[in-house]
């Protein structure tokens, strides 16, 4: 029962954060509400017995990445969007339409049949908790998924270099 309550709480926090991101005119507030949304997501992960992911969500996403966003916003001093008319006159309407449409499609899929037709895996939540979520994840990551894991390391490395190269001021 407590789990269910937690879920609804976190769901509300998350969705509210998301709405804030899109609706608040000041980018600074958008960043802050995105952080809120991420924290809510971390909570949702906790209800799904994904403790490691939840922690990573808080530390990396809500922590590191969002701080980066914050920096940029402050750096560029982006207070509010200029109030010039939108390029596409029906942009807002289109956006809403697409958003609602997508949501409708997904809803339709969710409620149109049995979702869990696939084969069950080897890691029921109870067993994972027994061993420890992080341990299981780490083991798989460093055995079966070693190559992608390393590749992601390379990707991040390249990303760092790329960011540096791009953002560096040219000498001329």
């Amino acid at each position: 029962m407590a789990g269910l309550f937690l879920f609804y709480l976190m769901a509300v926090v998350t969705v509210a954060g998301a709405v804030g991101v899109v609706s608040l005119p000041n980018p600074l507030y958008s960043v802050l509400s995105l952080i809120a949304a991420f924290l809510g997501l971390a909570g949702l992960y906790l209800t799904l017995n994904a403790e490691f992911i939840a922690v990573v969500q808080v530390v990396i996403y809500a922590g590191a990445i969002m701080v980066l966003f914050l920096f940029v916003v402050m750096l560029l001093d982006l207070r509010r969007e200029e109030r010039i008319p939108l390029r596409l006159p029906v942009q807002k309407f289109t956006g809403a339409l697409i958003g609602v449409g997508l949501f409708a499609v997904i809803m339709k899929v969710i409620f149109s049949g049995s979702l869990l037709t696939g084969a069950k895996g080897a890691f029921p939540a109870e067993r994972v908790s027994e061993i420890g979520n992080t341990q299981v994840l780490g083991k798989i990551l460093l055995t079966d998924y070693l190559l992608p894991f390393q590749a992601m390391g390379v990707l991040l490395f390249v990303g760092v270099i790329g960011a540096v190269v791009l953002a560096r001021r040219r000498a001329d």
């Binding site: 899929v109 149109s112 049949g113 037709t117």
Partner: protein, 525 residues
């Protein structure tokens, strides 16, 4: 028969030669000479191999010879499958003979980007030979399209003032046609369920009648553009006028034959009933082309354009022969493809020779030059008469057999077509009169050099062939005959009128919610 893979050797020798040229510089005169010598050597080697093929060719045998086969993409039933028969052999020989001649002609004529030019010609030869020997749709299509690129370059880089327009028109027009063919090929592939691109397999079991019309139309349209059959001919004058001489020779000599060859090898025997249904249309168009091409050729003021329109007229004869559906027409058609290649090729060479001297092709700029260029005049007259179809020269044998065959099928069309014989004399002789004869040469023409040794060597083999095929066509005709006979049987087959009932298919499992099926078709049949 030797065990050497002669066809592969023949097809890819020019390609190898062309690739070798990458390593030879053409910056200085010596380099250019080297480039030319190497390409010439490879063209001659190819000619030698084709001569070996000719020598080893089994007569009185209708099927494919020198067959080679290797898996290429087994997943889709695609293989490297080549071979030749009496229909393709003459065209192969024509290709291997014309290429060295064209190279020799260009030896002193093309000075711009020599290496690229020679490479383009060699690649072109590989493409053309490939089309003639392919027994696999996929392979055929690869060569068919591959051929376009070097030709596009030849027109677009070394052509006349409006070369870009002409090259793009040529490319797009033929491309548009071949895309239709591709669709038809794929359709055929899926329709028959044979899971193979093997042409011979498809030839053995024609599709049912209901489908033939569409597929034939797609194939035939593609080839009709290439031939070109009236009214798809307008790219031809532009391409010819702008193309450099070498390009014109190859274009008229060999590439136009791709269209008629395609009709003969693919479109007609694959869809025999449809071909017979369409025959009146094609015969009408062929006859219109014959008369129309001749009439329009008559009033041209540019020699090259005149020759180009004469090609429209001549190829009308070939199409007429093919759609006669009898042995005379078919053999005559094949023979006439070769004949047209020789005589029109020679005509374009001759026009090129005079153009490189005077830098004009307007008939009105000439007159009376037989006096200053007597040898040239002799060659010109012989070639023109070959084109007119004078008995004793090559053109006659082909035209006669075609018309005899066509007459057997439809006297009306044959008679109208035969009037093209008169018109051919009109436009050719009128042109000769205005270029070679009739008055003293104008001062600008007085200083014209007669043919040099190189030009002599370029024309002499073609002239010899004109006489040879005119007086004794047997060595070619008796190779054509068995295959043509088999072809005639093939195109006169009857086929199932409707689609055979489908085999019971497996009942499909209830559709999964998400995208599990591979193709859209499976989700929404």
């Amino acid at each position: 028969m030797s065990e050497l893979p002669l066809i592969t050797l023949m097809v890819f020798l020019p390609l190898i030669g062309g690739l070798l040229l990458i390593f030879v510089g053409d910056a200085d005169e010596a380099g250019r000479a080297r480039v030319r010598a190497i390409s010439m050597a490879f063209a001659l080697l190819t000619l030698a191999v084709s001569a070996a093929v000719y020598a080893g060719f089994r007569e009185n045998f209708a099927g494919m010879q020198f067959v080679e086969r290797a898996e290429w993409i087994p997943r889709f039933g695609i293989s490297y499958y080549v071979g030749l028969d009496g229909i393709s052999l003459p065209l192969i020989l024509l290709t291997t003979i014309l290429t060295p001649i064209v190279l020799l002609y260009s030896w002193g004529e093309v000075e711009k980007r020599v290496r690229l030019f020679q490479m383009a010609l060699l690649f072109l030869e590989t493409g053309m030979l490939g089309v003639f020997v392919s027994l696999d749709f996929f392979l055929f299509y690869v060569f068919w399209e591959g051929m376009l690129i070097p030709m596009y370059l030849i027109i677009g880089v070394w052509g006349g003032p409006r070369r870009i327009y002409a090259a793009v028109k040529f490319f797009l027009y033929t491309m548009a046609g071949s895309v239709l063919m591709l669709v038809a090929i794929l359709w055929l592939y899926f329709e028959t369920g044979a899971e193979t691109f093997d042409i011979l397999v498809h030839l053995d079991k024609p599709v049912h009648y209901a489908l033939q019309g569409w597929l034939f139309a797609a194939f035939a349209l593609s080839f009709a553009i290439k031939v070109p059959i009236f009214p798809f001919h307008t790219w031809l004058p532009d391409a010819h006028v702008e193309a450099p001489t070498a390009g014109s020779v190859i274009l008229a000599g060999v590439m136009l034959k791709m269209g008629t060859y395609g009709l003969m090898r693919l479109a007609m025997p694959l869809f025999p009933t449809a071909a017979r249904d369409f025959a009146p249309l094609f015969m009408t168009l062929a006859v219109i082309g014959i008369v129309y091409g001749a009439l329009v050729a008559m009033v041209q003021d540019d020699i090259k354009k005149l020759v180009a329109y004469s090609s429209v007229s001549h190829l009308g004869f070939v199409v007429l022969g093919l759609f006669s559906f009898n042995l005379l027409g078919a053999s005559g058609g094949v023979l006439q493809m070769v004949n047209h290649g020789i005589s029109t090729g020679a005509l374009f060479l001759i026009v090129g020779m005079i153009y490189s001297r005077r830098h004009t092709r307007l008939i009105s700029d000439f007159g009376g030059i037989a006096r200053v260029m007597p040898v040239f005049a002799v060659f010109f007259v012989i070639t023109s008469f070959s084109s007119i179809g004078l008995p004793g020269l090559n053109g006659f044998v082909g035209e006669f057999t075609i018309l005899a065959g066509a007459f057997d099928r439809s006297p009306f069309f044959a008679v109208v077509a035969a009037s093209g014989v008169v018109l051919a004399a009109v436009y050719m002789l009128w042109m000769l009169q205005r270029v070679l004869f009739g008055g003293d040469p104008s001062p600008a023409n007085l200083g014209l050099r007669d043919l040099g040794v190189r030009e002599w060597c370029v024309l002499a083999p073609l002239i010899a062939l004109m006489f040879g095929l005119g007086l004794y066509p047997k060595p070619i005709l008796n190779k054509i005959e068995p295959s043509a006979k088999a072809w005639v049987e093939q195109v006169n087959r009857r086929v199932l009128h409707v689609k055979p009932p489908p085999e019971p298919r497996l009942a499909r499992a209830p559709a999964p919610v998400f995208v599990e099926a591979r193709s859209l078709k499976a989700v929404r049949p």
